[in-house]
């Protein structure tokens, strides 16, 4: 097969570009543990409110950081206001009591699907104290656009 010179050049350039893209991803994974939220844990979606893991939604803070337990439902998050310390590791554990929701902390890379029957979990650090908007970013019914909550990142006093 006769392949023209410029064509070969273009194919090599495409190959190099793709390898470069994949290298950046590999560096992100290996170097910064940059991974999408991929926790695998199941829960009975009809018994979320009685499940010991979700019976008390809210924030627990300890020496290492904070754990947030939250539930998404049509059309609110429980709790509606989440307070976490700045500069510490914050682990979110979320599930849904009804349909699929999204949990997106606007202005950060905190973003996960919230799926009934499953527990989503991710850990992040908020460097900037302040108030953040949390929105549902997966269509969940006629009240989808009002489904939101507040994240308040507080300065930790030494």
């Amino acid at each position: 097969v006769n392949v023209a010179f410029y064509e070969k050049l273009c194919m090599w350039a495409a190959g190099v570009l793709i390898v470069a893209f994949l290298t950046t991803i590999a560096v992100g994974v290996a170097g910064s543990a940059l991974q999408p939220p991929s926790h695998v844990e199941t829960i009975d979606p009809t018994k979320v409110w009685n499940d010991p893991r979700f019976v008390r939604p809210g924030v627990t803070v300890d020496a290492h950081g904070a754990t947030v337990i939250a539930v998404g439902m049509m059309f609110a998050f429980m709790p509606a206001e989440i307070r976490v310390p700045a500069g510490r590791h914050v682990t979110f554990r979320l599930t849904s009591a009804d349909v699929i929701h999204g949990f997106q902390i606007v202005g950060t890379n905190g973003n996960t699907m919230v799926v009934p029957g499953y527990i989503s979990q991710f850990t992040t650090v908020f460097r900037e104290p302040g108030e953040y908007l949390i929105v549902c970013n997966e269509y969940c019914g006629l009240g989808h656009h009002v489904m939101s909550a507040k994240l308040i990142v507080e300065e930790v006093r030494p």
């Binding site: 273009c10 194919m11 190959g15 991974q35 199941t42 979606p45 890379n109 029957g117 970013n137 997966e138």
Partner: protein
Amino acid sequence: MNRTDRLSLAHLWVAIGAFGVAAAMAFMQALSRASLDLPWRSAKLYYISVTAHGVLMALVFTTFFIMAFGYVVVTRALERAPAAPGLAWAGFWTALAGTLAAVVAILAGKATVLYTFYPPLQAHPAFYIGLTLVIVGSWCWAAVMLLSYRAWRREHEGAPAPLAMHGMLATVIVWLIATVGVAAEVLLQLIPWSLGWTKTVDPVLARMLFWYFGHPLVYFWLLPAYVIWYTVLPRVAGGKLFSDPLARLVFVLFILLSTPVGFHHQFMDPGVSAGWKLLHTFLTFGILFPSFVTAFTVTASMEVAGRMQGATGLLDWLGKLPWREPLFSSVALSMILFAFGGVGGAINASFGMNAVVHNTAWIQGHFHLTVGSAVALTFMGASYWLLPRLSGRELELGLLARVQPYLWFVGMMLFSFSNHITGLMGMPRRVYDAGYDGSAVAATWRGLTGVSAVGGLFLFASAAFFMMVMIGTALAGKKKEPDPILWAEPLYPVVERRTILDRYGLWTAIAILLVIVAYAYPLWAHLRMARFGSPGFSPF
């Protein structure tokens, strides 16, 4: 008009009708997002219209256009009537009946589940059964395409299929592999559940099956557009195809890599572990390759055309191209928009980076450049070229046809770029109102949602021009002997014998092997895990 052109025309008109309805819905959505207080504005209507727009554009307009174009390729490239015309018509009526059932369910407000219909959102059974019939109809088409090729091959010992048919065969193979996933989801999970025969479904399993189908679906849309870029555009531009064998290679690569990549739509999902998402990421970047090659080959073919018209300088060939010819300008502009879409796609596929854009307005900005421009604008341009040749009527309102692709381009630049930016600023997609109760950060999106609405206005005007030209041509176009449908010739003569690139059975087998590598273990492990199903909800 001969009988087989009636088949193509019937499909083409359903596609055009679906496009017209869906375009009107889109305009209303763009205005709604900009928080313009229209008298009929309501959340219920907005979400119904998002559902109808998605189903009619992404599933009905595309599928019917592709079926129409497939029959054109059989009659004009293989130069024979489609095999089993009865089956072809049965497929048409089945898909049309399914479309109507789904659309009635949507417009009645019983299926406001968007075109992705993720359970446990539960629609009326007519919605799922309707979509199943659309797919069954498309399977009839796929069978007719394969039977037609087999009959042709028997008469052309050892000869490779014409390039247009090669591309359509790749489309058929991708489609047949892909639809297994959605058929399993709808037949085994959703229909029994919506009829009340089963109580619960597993939403993550449903999403795995849906996206097994959902990503190759985009190549089902894109490959026929590529067929037009490779085999129609160079001729319309007055030139030749730069390379026939590389085009064949591109289609083969799509057969291989279209399907084993679906987890890149589930990066943010719980219940799917990170390792499998990473494997799908690597395969996803593999698919960039054939599109890079396409960008080169098609642009090179345009340069060949410009030089055949006498261009000699570095860039003056651009000026020699027929920018007033609607098929040419549609494809050229759709390629520019698709270049941005491709870059955005690489960002979406970048594993952890996806968290920044997932389910934000960035995503709708992205796929309106890909399916909404590379595919839809190409199909509109091709309709200007096809309709007169199939119906034997001259194109009416030619001025509108000439302006329309440019309007689409401007509208899409405004719409898509503003949505990419608001997405990066955190605005979620598919919300009726992005005000969030006076939230300060939500207020920063407002100027750009206005830009997006202006883009919507341009797009709606463009869509209206397209509809006027189509309907005007059908009703008032002057009757004449239709121009022939001719395919681009390659710059270098084609190899006369079939090569390894024409071994469709072999490539299908390797594609299935790759699917098994990418999906067998995660699916098996998922099914073995202790899982809890969800009952259905219909909050609309």
